[in-house]
């Protein structure tokens, strides 16, 4: 968390945004993502980085609930899938342009999350966690039975939808850059929340919800806002991702296994830290990549995730960044 920070600033006013190291680190990461595949038009690298960007987006936003407020959202993938469905539907059936459909999907999912959140956030601990699975399963069942969304067969997008973006080849690059932008926003959002009064309230809730309420933190409202906020960018990312695939179906869109992986990434990188999401995603992807090359190990993906999570929870609950910050406290100021 925030322990060990020394007050190296005059008074309590933090330095302006552009003066903070973290701002530039994220900008660098975005730049690296943007430029690397452009070198030699490396499509394979672009696809790998796109997946990484999606993971980082999902992890950063999950961190708002898991890391700050201390609520486990097992079914966080529902935002991604639902955003994908709404966006694909609006573009395919209603002929909306991508620039309108994706943000609309983000807003719609956010709003629904706010409404549902106000209900299920009254539940504590395990009950909330299970309720989030329920929401994911419920939405998946709905999508699989809802005819306008193609039912269990899913929805396809015709090639024409890529025309406004300059054709299928160019569209893939455009979407890639959009997704990096979403990733960047996610990291900045995570940081902005953490350093805001709202974030402090969330963290207080995560430490001791009852004490936080007695101190005046409007716990119900803040939790619902965090839940809703944590839905927006993943939904947007889902819209972009499934638009790019030109195809969406229930089992892919609402894959609980993906939710679990994102949770492991957050814990691995460091729950409650901003850079943790990025580092965790990178490490996890590397680990998974090297394991998947062997066919036998493909089955053991879940085992590896589980073991990793167990070891982290038992021996290093602060994750990688947590360990780093406790060893070298000064890094916390720079990296958050």
């Amino acid at each position: 968390m925030n322990n060990g920070r020394t007050d190296s600033v005059v008074g309590d006013r933090p330095p302006p945004l552009l003066g903070r190291p973290f701002f530039w680190i994220v900008a660098l990461v975005i730049g690296a993502f943007a430029i690397a595949p452009l070198v030699g038009a490396n499509v394979e690298l672009r696809e790998r980085l796109l997946l990484a960007a999606v993971y980082i987006t999902l992890a950063s936003n999950l961190n708002l609930m898991l890391g700050y407020a201390g609520y486990i959202n097992f079914g966080s993938i529902v935002f991604f899938g639902l955003g994908g469905y709404i966006c694909v539907y609006l573009i395919g059936a209603r002929e909306w342009p991508l620039a309108a459909a994706a943000p609309a999907a983000g807003l719609a999912v956010s709003l629904m999350a706010l409404i549902f959140g106000l209900g299920i956030l009254r539940l504590r601990g395990a009950f909330f966690a299970l309720a989030t699975i329920g929401i994911n399963e419920g939405v998946q069942a709905f999508a699989a039975n809802f005819e306008p969304w193609g039912g269990s067969a899913g929805l396809y997008l015709p090639m024409q939808v890529f025309a406004p973006l300059g054709g299928p080849m160019r569209a893939l690059w455009v979407i890639y850059f959009f997704l990096i932008a979403v990733m960047g926003f996610s990291l900045y959002l995570s940081y902005a929340v953490k350093t805001s009064k709202f974030g402090l309230g969330l963290i207080a809730i995560g430490q001791n919800e009852d004490a936080a309420a007695v101190l005046g933190v409007p716990t119900a409202l803040y939790k619902a806002l965090a839940y809703s906020l944590s839905a927006f960018l993943p939904a947007l990312a889902g819209g972009l991702y499934f638009f790019k695939s030109a195809f969406i179906q229930p089992t892919d869109a609402f894959d609980l296994g993906l939710s679990t992986e994102v949770m492991v990434i957050v814990m691995l990188g460091g729950r409650g830290t901003v850079t943790g999401a990025a580092i965790g995603a990178y490490l996890y992807e590397e680990l998974r990549g090297s394991l998947l090359t062997s066919q036998t190990f493909a089955n053991f993906q879940l085992v590896v995730s589980g073991l990793l999570l167990l070891l982290i929870v038992l021996f290093a609950p602060g994750g990688l960044m947590g360990w780093l910050y406790s060893r070298w406290p000064r890094t916390r100021e720079a990296l958050e």
């Binding site: 009254r122 399963e137 069942a141 085992v303 073991l307 038992l314 609950p317």
Partner: protein, 286 residues
């Protein structure tokens, strides 16, 4: 008319086994305030234990029960020491993740070994016929064995010294410690009991229905619904809640496709928790 009654009675029989499973969950929850997310996996383990014991080893089906109870208990104790002991007193978030991670590992190993296909343990038992409907012998015997196990649990908790120690620790761990009760041993024993009960329930379910490695999730959810209905730490409430759930399922099966059952149960779960935050019988909040 008779169809509905038959469905309900059958639901009650099956529901009692749900109650047995939930007893394991609620016992662990009540004694050490830990939500055991390996519960579903323990149920599945019971199923596969029956499969292996009857298939590879050739034990006649129901005779496997004592082995599964003992094996489940030992595994539960081991699980306590591996994943739970260090986590007692840590934030609930961490304890949840701990048992969840063990769950991932076991499911991963399970799918690696057995895949995701359907398994079945054929058990031949004559049923009881009433009008045009037959109540399968397996369902009746499962309910009977559930009652027996529940009775044994009651005797243990309320008529033995060790059982009293368990109840004391559930009530107030610090006070129990101060009275000289070895609380850590009691905690590990309770965890073992909880897993044993789940495994036994799994075995009984396997005598009635086919199953997969991934079936644990559905039964774990049922256990949570039952626990929410019956109240935390209340084994008797769990049994009653299980019967109630079985009743609801039996009734609902008449009117809607089975694929919606899970969704209905989730809705029921969330609704019960929000409308009856203290559980229909007692407390349901952590």
């Amino acid at each position: 008319m008779f169809g509905i009654i038959a469905s309900i009675v059958d639901g009650v029989l099956i529901g009692s086994v749900y109650g047995l499973a939930a007893m394991g969950l609620t016992l662990i929850w009540g004694v050490m305030n830990v939500v055991n997310l390996t519960h579903g996996t323990a149920i599945v383990a019971g199923m596969f234990a029956l499969y292996l014991l009857t298939g590879a080893v050739g034990v006649p089906s129901y005779a496997a029960l004592p082995f599964i109870l003992i094996g489940g208990f030992l595994i539960g104790v081991a699980l306590y020491w591996i994943a739970v002991h260090r986590m007692i007193g840590r934030p609930p978030l961490m304890v949840l993740l701990s048992t969840f991670s063990v769950n991932l590992v076991v499911i991963g190993l399970g799918t690696a070994v057995w895949g995701t296909g359907l398994f079945n343990v054929p058990v031949m038992l004559p049923g009881v016929t009433w009008h045009r409907y037959t109540f399968p012998g397996t369902h009746i015997l499962a309910a009977a064995l559930t009652a027996a196990i529940a009775g044994a649990l009651y005797l243990f908790l309320y008529r033995t010294r060790l059982g009293k120690a368990v109840r004391a620790v559930a009530n107030n761990r610090e006070a129990a410690e101060l009275c000289g009760i070895p609380t850590t041993r009691v905690l590990s024993l309770s965890f073992g009991l909880g897993v044993a009960l789940a495994g036994a329930a799994g075995m009984l379910i396997a005598t009635m229905f086919p199953f997969t490695v991934l079936a644990g999730d559905a039964y774990q959810l049922k256990s949570f619904v039952v626990t929410a209905l019956g109240g935390l730490g209340n084994p008797a409430g769990a049994l009653v809640g299980g019967v109630a759930l079985g009743l609801v399922e039996g009734f609902a099966a008449q009117f809607m496709p089975v694929s919606w059952t899970l969704v209905i149960e989730f809705v029921l779960f969330v609704a019960v928790l929000i409308i009856f935050p203290r559980g229909i019988f007692a407390f349901a909040r952590t």
